[in-house]
Every structure is written in structure tokens, then in C-alpha cells.
């Protein structure tokens, strides 16, 4: 399964990057393919391209706020979770995602 994710938080110096790392770590453990875009104080990094979005099976938004440029993801199945749950147990978040998709 091919997952794309966006992380964002109100301040953009902590949770955004921690959640991105946590999701990547969990995906590696579970053998899932993931690309995580961070929308933090450094701006948008590791940007999800049109191709990434077209090839993705699922979009995960881990954020407590509205994300930027969300019109890009129209038509892509999405799940939104609070940032804390990605930090708390990223594996559980990804498992939920896989479960929803199947």
C-alpha cells in the first residue's frame, strides 16, 4: 500500500517534525511505503508532487489545524488524525489506515 501523509501543527517547530519521523519509523517497521510532507515553520518540505498524489492509495493528515494547499488532494481518499495520536502510537494510526482501505 502506498501512503502519503502531511503533518502540520500550530507552531511548526516541534510536532510537525516529530510526527513525520514517527510515521516514517512506524511505516518502515510495518513494511509500508510512505512519503511525509511537513508543513512547519521552515515552510513546506518534502513536498508531495502531483505524481505522488496520483500514485497514492491513501492520504493521512496528522494535524490539529487546517493544512495548506489541500485542494491538491481532491479525489484522494483521506484520513485525518490528531497529531498526538501519531506521536502516541504511529503504528496504530497506520494499522487503522490499512484496515480502512481494505
Amino acid at each position: 500500500m502506498n501512503i502519503i501523509a502531511v503533518t502540520a501543527c500550530p507552531t511548526g517547530i516541534a510536532h510537525t517534525y516529530m510526527a513525520a519521523d514517527a510515521l516514517q519509523k512506524a511505516a518502515a517497521v510495518m513494511g509500508l511505503k510512505i512519503k511525509v510532507e511537513t508543513q512547519g515553520a521552515m515552510g513546506i518540505e518534502n513536498t508531495l508532487t502531483a505524481r505522488d498524489i496520483a500514485q497514492a492509495d491513501m492520504l493521512l493528515i496528522a494535524s490539529d489545524i487546517d493544512i495548506e494547499q489541500k485542494e491538491r488532494f481532491l479525489g484522494c481518499p483521506q484520513t485525518k488524525v490528531p497529531l498526538e495520536s501519531a506521536l502516541l502510537d504511529a503504528c496504530a494510526v497506520l494499522r487503522g489506515l490499512v484496515h480502512n482501505a481494505s
Binding site: T11, I13, A14, Y17, A41, M42, P82, L83, L88
Partner: protein, 257 residues
């Protein structure tokens, strides 16, 4: 029983130190672990060769973790050993913490003041803690403390800033700040931070100007990411002195390697 010893090494670890440490370990029932926090690696001192794989260089920050019924005794003996081979960070004094020089050297021009207070025992509520953290900021760094408090409160309303079990990191980019600053408060009693991750004992305030320069921002982001590292975060929560916490946070702020 759990004890820790955090120290800067004076010289690289050779097979001689590794053997000494193994011999000392053999005297106690307690289980020991040596962590090289500068390299984020750990080893069992009973295996001298794996200890060498930590590649401890002079000036690296290390922590020895001692766990077991005779940890107190082992701690006393190992304190002497550490005193011989390194610079122990057990003091409360923060006028000139040894890690300040390292921060200045590795991040020149980076004004990140680390204020600290230990063993804070008052109400176990979030709001007084936020106030206290702000009060720890050096004079003149924050132009409007009440405004900063409001911004931190507003951030906490969106979601509680507990990063790891036991550790809260309220953070804000604020116009009231003149330079980035980190303040650290350690409480003897667990404090309810309103998070599913449970109460916290260690609180780290990150406050930076509204438009920080990229290198300052990068250091703060490095710190957040470093706290995801199980070894570093556990070492920080375990650290028993303000000097040790200061040193570990410094290690998290500076570029790795």
C-alpha cells in the same frame, strides 16, 4: 532502584578503561548500561569490545545507568571512576554549566539560553508551571511575559504539548521574544498536562522570536526530533541534576557528530 551518572569524557575510551569498567561491574548485582549520548549509541559494560564500539572520544557526553538492588553502592564506586576519567555533571550550579561552552563552540552566535530550575514543589497544575517557566527566562529576553503566557495557553488549548511520557514541551514563536530561549523545570510531583500520554515531571519551554533566523529554527527542530530518540529522551528523563539536563539538551540542539 535506578541511578545514573552523566559526564563528559576527558579522553577516548581504550581497552584499559573498558576492562576497568567490566571489573567494576562484576562487583555488583546491579545491571549497568553505558550510553554515548553524543553518538546516540549504547553498550553493555560487561562486553568490553562492544564498549569500544561506542567510539567514545574526548569530550563526548556519556551516561551510565545503574539498575538493581545495590545500585546505590555501585553508584558511589562508579562516581569515583567517572571522576577519574571524566567530568561528572551532578551539580545544581548553573552559573557556568560545562555544557554552555560546548553550545557556544558548536553553535556560535546562537543565543539559546538554557534556564533551569530543579525540584519545584508547589501546586501540581499546568498554569502555574507555565508561569514559572516564563519567570525562568533571563531578564530582558521577553518583552511582554503576560502576552507570552497567553500565547502558550492558547497553544495548549489546541492540543496538550506532551511529547513523550513524562515530558511536556510547550513551545511558541512569539513577537514578545528577542532571542530563542529554552527553560527547563523539573517537578518532584507528576503534573497533569491534560494529555493521553499521562502526567509529566519534566517541562521544557521553547520560546523563539516570531521570525527566527533559519539556523536558530533548525536547532529547535533538531531538539524536537532528538527527543524522539529513545536513548536521548530516556537519558534526559533519568538525569538527576540540572547540569546533566543542560548537557543533554545541548547535545540535542547541536548538529550530530
Amino acid at each position: 532502584m535506578l541511578r545514573e551518572l552523566t559526564f563528559y569524557t576527558k579522553r577516548p575510551f581504550s581497552i584499559i578503561q573498558a576492562r576497568q569498567l567490566r571489573r567494576l561491574c562484576g562487583m555488583f548485582r546491579a545491571k549497568l548500561l553505558l550510553i554515548n549520548l553524543s553518538r546516540r549509541q549504547q553498550a553493555d559494560p560487561e562486553q568490553p569490545l562492544t564498549l569500544l564500539s561506542l567510539a567514545v572520544q574526548a569530550g563526548d557526553l556519556c551516561q551510565i545507568v545503574i539498575e538493581g538492588s545495590d545500585a546505590e553502592l555501585a553508584h558511589m564506586v562508579l562516581t569515583l571512576w567517572v571522576g577519574e576519567h571524566g567530568l561528572p555533571l551532578s551539580g545544581r550550579g548553573l552559573d557556568q554549566p560545562p555544557s554552555q561552552a560546548r553550545l557556544t563552540q558548536r553553535l556560535p552566535g546562537y543565543h539559546c539560553t538554557l534556564a533551569m530550575q530543579d525540584e519545584w514543589q508547589q501546586e501540581s497544575d499546568k498554569d502555574p508551571c507555565l508561569r514559572h517557566l516564563i519567570a525562568l527566562l533571563p531578564d530582558g529576553l521577553c518583552t511582554h511575559p503576560a502576552g507570552l503566557l497567553d500565547e502558550l495557553r492558547a497553544r495548549e488549548v489546541i492540543s496538550a504539548t506532551v511529547m513523550r511520557p513524562g515530558l511536556a514541551m510547550p513551545h511558541v514563536l512569539s513577537q514578545t521574544m528577542r532571542a530563542p530561549c529554552i527553560a527547563v523545570l523539573h517537578s518532584q510531583r507528576p503534573i497533569d498536562w491534560g494529555s493521553a500520554l499521562g502526567p509529566v515531571q519534566l517541562m521544557v519551554l521553547l520560546a523563539a522570536p516570531a521570525k527566527p533566523v533559519p539556523e536558530h529554527l533548525a536547532a529547535l527542530i533538531r531538539l524536537s526530533r532528538a527527543l524522539l530518540d529513545d536513548q536521548l529522551c530516556a537519558a534526559l528523563l533519568r538525569a538527576g541534576s540540572a547540569q546533566a539536563r543542560h548537557a543533554i539538551l545541548t547535545e540535542a540542539l547541536i548538529p550530530a557528530g
